[in-house]
Amino acid sequence: MEKYQLSTTRTFEDVWADMAPSEEALSSSPYPKKEVFYLRGDHTGYRWYVENFPVHRDMATPELKHEFNELMKDILETEPIKSGIPGILEFCKDYPESVLKDGSMNRYNFYYEGEAGNYWIQFLDMPKNYNFYAHAYVK
């Protein structure tokens, strides 16, 4: 990452206090009311393939979208993350405090407090699965 400095400690726990199902979301499960959308990614071996999923699209301001896009560009198009799971492992080894072990899978949690929104970035190291999630929340 070149432009943005991610945190492992600035968790946005308040986000989880208020949840409700969203009509726009993929699943009928409850989502944080502050969540605007999230991005899910898997690495093809050559590049990241990402999809965007709305949660509360009406809260997406142009500033938040711009900030999110810049952040994603900085994470996914910059080495070492650019190269997929090996890059994730290389990047995350400097942040042992970011890891939560779910048995055979490790999940690495990072956070970024922006000006337009707050962001939760998650890397997962399980092969043949989605390896990247980025959630955008309003402040």
């Binding site: 048995g103 055979s104 699965n129």
Partner: protein
């Protein structure tokens, strides 16, 4: 039944299976997938004890008292003792679904079921035995019952 209709039909069942994973329930996570219950593809359990008991039965755990280690709140490792050689197998994880991890595990299950769907539908549509529309429909319904329907039924009874 044409391919598009079959796809819609199976997708509805997949969505139900994914929605059956709920915060507060427990799953068994193997090396790269959520392990379904024995006797029918139910993918989550009301309690940790149910998850451990079911997986223990599936693998014929030789221990009377299961060997389970806590990794952290809501995440445990279960070591099954092989009934043939007496050694521990690679552990599986017993994980509590929470609002924070639910989305990823739903995605994982959806991806697995969609892979099964694609393989199964391709083989049904390529098989001359199912060239007849009724036979094909029966094969598709049978597949969804086998792989998915039982799980939905089981979950709706326990939730």
């Amino acid at each position: 039944m044409e391919y598009e209709a079959a796809l819609c039909f199976v997708n509805e069942k997949i969505q139900c299976a994914v929605d059956s994973l709920k915060s507060g329930r427990w799953i068994v996570l193997g090396e790269d997938n959520i392990i379904p219950a024995v006797g029918g593809p139910q993918f989550s359990y009301t309690t940790k004890k149910d998850a451990i008991f079911d997986f223990g039965c599936r693998c014929l755990d030789a221990r009377r008292i299961p060997k389970v280690k806590k990794l952290r709140d809501g995440v445990y490792e279960y070591y099954v003792k092989d009934c043939d050689d007496g050694h521990d197998k690679s552990p599986v994880s017993i994980i509590k679904l929470t609002n924070k991890n639910l989305g990823e595990y739903q995605d994982m299950l959806r991806l697995d079921l969609e892979t099964i769907r694609d393989e199964e539908l391709d083989s049904i549509f390529e098989n001359p035995l199912y060239a007849d529309d009724d036979a094909r429909k029966e094969a598709i319904v049978s597949f969804t019952h086998r792989e998915i329907y039982e799980c939905i039924k089981a979950n709706s009874e326990t939730v």
